[in-house]
Symmetry: C2
Amino acid sequence: MRFFEDLSVGDTYEYGTYDVTEDEILEFAEQYDPQWFHTDPERAEEESMYGGLIASGWHTVAMTMRLIVDGYVGDMESLGAKGVDELRWWAPVSPGDALSIENEVLELTPESESRGLAKIKTTTYAERESGDVEKVCSFVGLSMFGRKRDE
Amino acid sequence: MRFFEDLSVGDTYEYGTYDVTEDEILEFAEQYDPQWFHTDPERAEEESMYGGLIASGWHTVAMTMRLIVDGYVGDMESLGAKGVDELRWWAPVSPGDALSIENEVLELTPESESRGLAKIKTTTYAERESGDVEKVCSFVGLSMFGRKRDE
């Protein structure tokens, strides 16, 4: 188990990958973001300015979160998050993409004897079926972690 | 169908409700945010600082998005979003809560002949099983909408 004290400003971590499927894009969007360019592959192909079906931005963030938890938060004393700043969707995510993430610790603030706040910037990249890699999403998370106890 | 021009700064819209279930909290978290306070009701009850199972913050946002789409975006010429600023989780969401949202148009910027950018603040409220209502989440969305065409 790792704690707030195990993070250092400037640390970077890279993790991957999450394979994006059309079925999962449709399933997420039908439940949470039923806009036609997320739920109707044929209409998206014909009419969308994105040229085809794309994942809900919230789905992209959810897949990113899974990479974060599997990558490092799952091994830390995580206490949840206060929020995120500057969430941006730079480019769409499509079926067949493979997502990976890069994390950089920006700022560390002890908040109490038992808890610290970490500002961590996460950037999500999509490797396209062509092999090209593109930045698709980034945000600055305000995450709380437990502090080491002297025992 | 409504367009960018149909929005006015200061407009507010309220929509609801989305009923939060334990099953859906578990399903979302097992796929996207498998931290124990989102996936293990018994351990959450015994050990979590939140006093019981809570929804992933990303799940809260996803349910909020569903209320946004059903509420107004589904009837607009929506072109997706660039991102969100100042996303905050003010209080946890629990099984049995009923979510509703309030939206306020903060800023409108035409970006081209065919597209405008709307800054819209969304606030999510949870009505608890006790009947109490609490703010649980807020963010400022940067959403793109199609403009009316003269034909």
